[in-house]
Structures are given as structure tokens and as C-alpha cells.
Symmetry: C2
Subunit: 346 residues, 2 copies
Amino acid sequence: MAPDKRPPTTLSDVARRAGVSPMTVSNVINGKGGVRPDTRRRVLEAIEATGYRVNAVARALAGGQSRVITVFSPQLNRPYAAEVIQGAALAAERLNYDLIVMMLSEQGRSDVSVVTRLAAGALLIQPSSEGRWRRADLPAHVVSVDGPGERPLTVDNYGGARQAVGHLLGLGHTRIGFISGLESGDRQPFPHPPGPHDRDDADERLRGYLDSMAAAGLEVPAGYVQHGDYSKPSGERAAARLLGLPQPPSAIFVSGDAMALGAMHVAQDLGVRVPGDLSVVGFDDLPIAAASRPGLTTVRQPLQRIGEVAVQMLVALAEGRDPGLPPPFPTELVERESTAPPRPAR
Amino acid sequence: MAPDKRPPTTLSDVARRAGVSPMTVSNVINGKGGVRPDTRRRVLEAIEATGYRVNAVARALAGGQSRVITVFSPQLNRPYAAEVIQGAALAAERLNYDLIVMMLSEQGRSDVSVVTRLAAGALLIQPSSEGRWRRADLPAHVVSVDGPGERPLTVDNYGGARQAVGHLLGLGHTRIGFISGLESGDRQPFPHPPGPHDRDDADERLRGYLDSMAAAGLEVPAGYVQHGDYSKPSGERAAARLLGLPQPPSAIFVSGDAMALGAMHVAQDLGVRVPGDLSVVGFDDLPIAAASRPGLTTVRQPLQRIGEVAVQMLVALAEGRDPGLPPPFPTELVERESTAPPRPAR
DNA sequence: TTGAAAGCGCTACCAG
DNA sequence: CTGGTAGCGCTTTCAA
């Protein structure tokens, strides 16, 4: 049962019907000036009547202007990527571009090049986790998020960490633990041009934590810095280690919302009340941070905004302008219910 | 700063280098038999040496075999779609197809046709919520999920509802409320061929609930059936109405995990303990169901599995086989901590 | 203001 | 087994 066997209408069909040459139809479609109003109207009518749609594939082959932006992302069922993509989609729609997302397989078997010639630009999400990108397989313009590359969009991780710890300090906490993301070295470097802004989010947050503690004249006891891998279970394990310390912290800054949720949950399982006995601050402000009970106080990354800016840059680049690289995006502390002043010292 | 100005290698370049005709290169690439081993080897070497990659766009234009499957989905930051897509991606990778996701804008302004000619088939997620699809703008083969269409993949919603209510009944509950999804009529019909399996998830679940209650010889008191829109806030409102009843239920079956989470949270806010005072069962088994506290007992839809099957069907169709339409996918009750026997009657 | 010619990179078809 | 020819549907460049 082959569906719809009629060959689709082509530009020439439209031209014939309108009694003009294919070129004129092309000019009308692409808004190129120099078409007499009534000719234009006739063409438009023919397009309407035939239900014609440009064949984007043919257009791309012929070297026409592309109005497609591609996002390359590993797993879409990660809230982080989903938020960035949502923002990108919003911007694309506003700019009248179409957005295509290509999921990268873990094994890197995906043939990235299928969409390369179709897209005006590409947004790379977490490019470092995938192995070898060949620059030649990517569209002409590339912006990356949460990973290295030429034109990487970054967030003020250091500042965010200081906001988090500052908040805890302000509440009166002095025993503040930290659960970091990947340890340095866990991330693979971006093979090709190592952009000027390469750096490690995890390291910056750690530095922010350390500097805040030092600035407050506070010691960081042994075992107060634990590592996870941004997953909830890893957050549970790290928090369990922290809570098992002889002098457990009264507050934990966790470098990721999923891990923070895990931390809250182990605490609750251990009979440690959040925020009564333990304050928890996360990082990211994913949807789950607001949906959890207690609501998670967290450092907000403007994920959707980042996606928007990425697309705006890509469109500018595609249209011949140079948008430059914006400074790291500022973070913002979102106070919810997972933080409170420490128990009065006994 | 135009990156990489070298024109990419073409098939002819490879042919020249290998000293064969373009056709032979094409045959090697596409695994068409009839190429002498050493010729084949020479071609492979030339490909390797030049770093050649097929131009998928040109191939598609020339009518070649596509190894791309497209998913059309509204908002990617919805866990439901994300899970289905994840499953689809797994299957695609296994079958050596590439997966492309196109986000549909709310306004329906997206130009679906950009990928149409590139893809061997398309998976439509929640097609009913988007307005007018023109069959001609879609790839040759289409499978839809969570919405009508030719070849719709469905889940046993009725059976799932009966599992949920049966579980509650088995625990000893008799006052069981229901929070439904969209009311009938909220969904827009699929314009074109209204497939043989059109039906409304919400209605089926309601029917399952009603039949279970009736089969147990139980009344459904006035106000025990509330409606939401699958969002967490709507679940909160519906649960608040249920809990505000003179004879509030001791258990609620909620037709969606996000709404169920909302129900648990208002209950907690009202001082109603879950599961002590109120049992809650959700539907879907999204990641949040397992990540919440208490863990949400829910009816699991095999979302990833559905995505996999959709891709398998599409690939079969693309390769000329007819996979037929599988029966509704069975659901499974996942017991977690949000359900318990009712308080002993006073 | 409009049109004719050429070709993007590839594959189908049919020769040799 | 291999190669030539034609053409997918569009846009470019240039001429009318």
C-alpha cells in the first residue's frame, strides 16, 4: 500500500501553470525583487493552487540559502539539553528558521554529515563527550554549549558557586560541604581547534567554593569535597559519604540539581531533615528543582537563554555578520525551601 | 573568518584518485555487489585518503536510498516525548539509520518539508496537537505515537487503568477518586485519514476506572472524577478539589505522573500524608516517578519500547516489507511508596 | 523585468 | 564486472 504515488509538484509545474519561466517562480519564492506585481500574483496563485512546496534538498544541492539550524546533542532525555534546545527552538522560530536536532549515538556512529549540507549552522551540545568530530563534517558555522569548540558559550560557574556558598554563609552555616561534578580529567578534550575559552565547569565551581570558604576564613575539613558524575545516584553516594563524616556538614553545595536531589533524598532516608538539619543548594535550576519537595534552592543557569543566543549567533553568522562571542552568562540564586539557618550550636 | 574554504571532496574526486569511474565508487559505497575485490580495495583506500563523505543531500535528490528517520515532535522538554525519542534513537542506531528530530513550533509555522525528501520515514509524536499536516509534506511512510494517524501505536490504556484501580482495590481502598487528562473534545482530530485505531486515551482510562469500580460493586460519589490537563499545577488543583470533598477519597488514581506529583504535593501541603492518609497512583512512569519522594506507584507505559517499535516499523516499510500494526502495548503496574492500605475505618 | 543555459553531487538505467 | 548518459529540482550567472 504505497501511500500517495503522485509525484510532488515541482517549481517547473508552477511556472508552466503561471505561464512564466521557472526563474521567475524562484525569484518570487525567494523574495528577490524585480518581479512585476501582477506576475508575482499569478505565481503566488499557481503556488497556492498546486500546493507547491520547495524541495529543500534540491535547493541545498543547488547552493541556495538554507534556513535550517541543526543541533547536535547526545541523549535528548536529559533536562539540560532539553532546556537549551527549547530555547534554541524559540529563537529559531522567531527568526523564521527551522530547527533540526540530530541525536548523536554513544558510539559516535552517527553520520553527522547527513544534515551538514542542509544546515546553515550547528549548535553543539556537550561536544566534548563525543569522540572525534571532523570540522569538515560540520556546517560552516558552529557554536557550542557545555563543552569546548570554536565559539563556546559559557556560564559564570565561578560566580555561581560563590553565590551558592555566599547564600549558605549568609544563613550562618560554617560547616559547608561540596559535591563536585566530574573530576578534572574526566572530560575528553575537543580534538580540533581548542577554542580560547576552554575550561572545566567542575573546576571553576570548585574554585568558587574554595575561594568563598577562604574569604570567610573557614577551614575546609578533610572529606568535605566529594565527587559525583552529575547523576542522581552519584549524588546519593557522595552525600552519604559527607553525612557519614565524624563532623558532618550542616550544608552542602551540590554542583548539579540531579545530584542535589539525590543528596536530599539520602538525607531524608537517614533521618536528617532538609532544611532543618541540612541545607542543600543545587546548580542548574532544571525543572525538577522546582518540582521537588522541599523545593530545591539552586543556582540558575539561563539554559533557554543560552540556546536562544546560540541560534541568534548562528543566524548572524549565516547572514554574514559577526556576532562576536558573548561574555559568560551570569547565574542567579533561586531560593526555595531546601536551605535554612543551621541548628543553633549546642 | 570563513572557516574551511576548501570545497569538500566529491565522489568524482575519489573516482579519479582510484582510477575508476564514479559509478564504481557509488557501487562500492552502497554495497552493491559486482565489484572486483581489488578494485573495491583501491576505492576504499581513496575514500580513506581523501576523507570523503557522501553528500546525503545529493544522494536524496538523485533518488538514492535514505538511511534517515525523522521524528516530528512538539516541545522536546517533555519527558514523554524524550523517552519515546530515546527508544527510537536506540533502535535507529541498531539498524544503522540516522535519527533526526524536528521540533514543531506551536504556531505550526515549521516547514516540515525540509526533511521530508531526506527521510525514509517519519515518526509523529502527538500529531493531534498540531494543526494541519498535509500528507504530501510528510515522508512516504509514517507511524504515529500518542495521537491518531495511519499506523498509530497505542497503549492499553483501559487495561492500565484497571491495573491501577485494581491495585488500590486490592489494598482495601473503597473511596477511590480519579483525575483524568483532557476532557473528551479537548483534542483536535487528525485531519486526514482517520486511522482505524483512533481513540482517546483519556476516555479509555476513565472507562477502565469506572468499570473497575463497578466490577467491585463500588459507588463513584459525585465529584470523585476530576479533570486536569496533564500538567503538574492542574494535578494540584484537581487533587485539592478531591480533598476538599465532604467525604474525601482515601486513594486517587491520576492519569499522568506530572499531575500525580502535583496531587502528592498538595496533599502534603494540606497535612495529608502520602501514603498514610492518601494513596496515589500515577500513569506513564516517567523518570520523575522514580525520582520523587515518596516514589510514585504508577502504571508504566513502555515509552522507549514504543519508540523502538516505531522505528523498526518505519525501517521495514522503507525496505519494502509490511510490518503490520502491532496490538496495543501492555502496561505494567510499578509499585513504589505512594500507595498503602487505607487507614482502618473508625 | 524575464529567460536560457549550466551545474550542484549523486544514482538509475542500460550499454559495453 | 565496469562505464557512459541522463536527470533528480533547484539556483546561479548572464544575456535578452
